[in-house]
């Protein structure tokens, strides 16, 4: 029988993988949209010349996101395997204990011989649990880094890239959104807001 902690672990790992997949889709869309915007800006000629760094920047952001998500995905997969392993090790340990108790209760001649496999199973199970905790901490660190990097990049976008184009109304439109984004450290999945931001760029250039 699967206990609630194991269920939570399975759900947590599955949720991370699912969110990462969603982020990957968004990042790829952004990358495509950035390329599209670049083409539009090119067609618009001199009046849209200032937007090229912006589209390049967004494209770079999307690429970095894709790379990070790929790395984190590998980690999440390892974590999933570890969860399966831990589940199996815990189940074995519980069954070994049950067998030992039964053997002792019925006066089995060789009941003592289960002591070693049971102790070994316990050690392996505890190792798995410790490794799971370590790996989760590491994964959360990677996710945080992803979120922080995005926030820093957006901050950079606000101060260095968009500021020179103050007369462009998109700055006003985007500023509140980006400020909230940075301030709250909204989970990385909200990176999809970049799509909205980018669509605003495209509209303005047109």
């Amino acid at each position: 029988m699967m206990n609630s902690q194991t269920k939570s672990q399975f759900i947590a790992v599955a949720s991370i993988t699912s969110e990462l997949s969603a982020v990957m889709v968004v990042a790829k869309e952004i990358s495509l949209a950035a390329a599209n915007a670049k083409a539009i800006a090119f067609r618009a000629g001199d009046k849209a010349k200032g937007f090229q760094p912006i589209t390049d920047f967004i494209n770079e952001l999307a690429k970095e996101t894709i790379e990070l998500v790929t790395k984190i995905n590998v980690h999440a997969l390892l974590l999933y395997r570890l969860t399966v392993d831990e589940f199996s090790r815990t189940a074995a340990y519980n069954r070994f204990e049950q067998a030992s108790k039964l053997a002792n209760a019925t006066g089995a001649r060789y009941a003592d011989s289960m002591a070693e496999p049971t102790a070994h199973a316990k050690n392996v199970m505890q190792d798995c649990q410790r490794q799971f905790k370590r790996d989760v901490t590491q994964l959360l660190g990677q996710l945080k880094r992803l979120c922080t990097t995005r926030a820093q990049l957006v901050s950079l976008l606000l101060t260095r890239v968009l500021k020179p184009h103050k007369r462009v109304n998109i700055y006003k439109v985007c500023k509140p959104l980006l400020k909230v984004w940075i301030k709250r450290r909204i989970p990385f999945t909200t990176m999809c807001n970049v799509v909205e931001l980018h669509s605003l760029f495209t509209v303005t250039v047109n």
């Binding site: 074995a92 070994f96 053997a103 019925t106 060789y110 011989s113 289960m114 496999p117 199973a121």
Partner: protein
Amino acid sequence: MKMTKIYEGAHQWVMFGRDENKPDNIIDSNQYIVRTANKCLLLEPGGTELFAPMMAAVLHHAPVEQITDLFASHQDPDVISSLGLWDQALSNAKLHAPALWEGYIRHFGCESIEYVPIPDNGETIKLESVELQIIPAHYLHSPCNFHVYDPQAKILMTGSVGSAWESAGAPVFVERFDTHVEKMRYYHQRWMPSNQAKRAWIDRVRNLDIDIIAPQHGRMFKGDDVKRFLDWFDALQVGTGI
């Protein structure tokens, strides 16, 4: 878990089954061990649910480190789904199981146990001085299926053949063959797919000197009931599920 010694000579055979504590919704199954001086072979180790009572029962006859061999007649979960647990308990063991099913049986977990694939025409398992013959029983009921014959003990472990659904308190040997037939009929007609395969198996085992037929479910057959069973099975039309 009920334990019944069915052969005592230079080595022993013990039958395990009729577990009163098993969940009601899983089928009762018979497990067997062949015990020599320093080794122990588990035949049809059973499902996951059965692991703890089975291990506890085996510990009456052998220490864990002397459980050196396992045998699975085919791939079904009531036969071998406990493999992943034995795999973690046994440090130096082999699983003798059909070659055809290796990739499937490994799904139950087989990392430390060595999988010894049995070829289609069978083989011999050597347990110290005891030589056990692995008899092909394909399509009875699994497409790749084997039985175990011990010429010294004159026991034929027949897996699904001879099986019947019984209650937990049922005796371990058939007492009245005529009434027992009805407990076996549907199982054999529905589970066994091929009259041709059945005939080939009967021709093969009629040549063996058998005192006991030991199936994986239900009661064992001994003495004259061995021949009665073979005659009855010979006359039965199987593969009725079509």
